[in-house]
Subunit: 136 residues, 2 copies
Amino acid sequence: MSSKQEFIEKLRNSSLRPTKQRINICEVLFNRDKTFHFTINDLFNLIKDKTGEKVSLATVYNTVHAFHKKGYLKEIPINSNQTYFDTNVTDHHHFFDVKEEKLIDLKNEDVGPIEIQKSIPGKKIKSVEVLVKLED
Amino acid sequence: MSSKQEFIEKLRNSSLRPTKQRINICEVLFNRDKTFHFTINDLFNLIKDKTGEKVSLATVYNTVHAFHKKGYLKEIPINSNQTYFDTNVTDHHHFFDVKEEKLIDLKNEDVGPIEIQKSIPGKKIKSVEVLVKLED
DNA sequence: TCGTTGTTTATAATTATTCTAAAGAAGATT
DNA sequence: AATCTTCTTTAGAATAATTATAAACAACGA
């Protein structure tokens, strides 16, 4: 449970002006116990439902990208026509239920350590992501 | 080096009629030594270049999807605006050079074994994919 | 050869995302 | 508080990838 005040500080600390819209988006994204997987469209609809206030789609895009850039959101690679984001920005992996189009977190302990025994000169590893697809 | 005749058989065996267009696409996709990573648009352009014959974009989409369904192509999960495919349908992983937008194969030996120590009732694992993003 | 069914194609439609430019709000300065 | 600057929001247009449509065409079987 985070308070409005905390969100305002968080935004200020990131040199993002604490606007009504951004605070509403924070409420929806970060005011929850469990990690949250979503598409922009999910979020767009949830904001209306949860806060009663409408935020334009463009602002949702802007804000999600801003939060992603600041490291408050993580983009999840799935083959789908829509981009998925995750409020859990720690290093972790995912199940993807292909039929239900649903993402499920894998704790780091759920996946053994991953050793990459190859390197490309001049490049360093930015991230290692495992995606486990599930079928019935 | 596969021959035209082999492609025709391959197509027939999959109950896909061996049309000129499909055979051309096979030549471009499967008549090569190394694995091939591509987007639909890459392929569309390559067909013109390599075979001299033009195939409509819609047919490229149709054929790639048909081949994917038959298991001759693999879709690769990357966060990008375009969908990537791979002619290497065996179980393997990838580097993705974020800057150059280029995929590089990881042999299975290059990645230690991956243990998934969690399961979802009623679901079974369809695939396990590792994507290693690279930066400079 | 003829009829059936599958395929190709140009084009239109759809969908996710980004761009644009004008109106509005936040922050700093006096 | 009034003003100025800068950032933000917004509706709507623009773009880009993909999918749908429906008519012309080609492969197959009888």
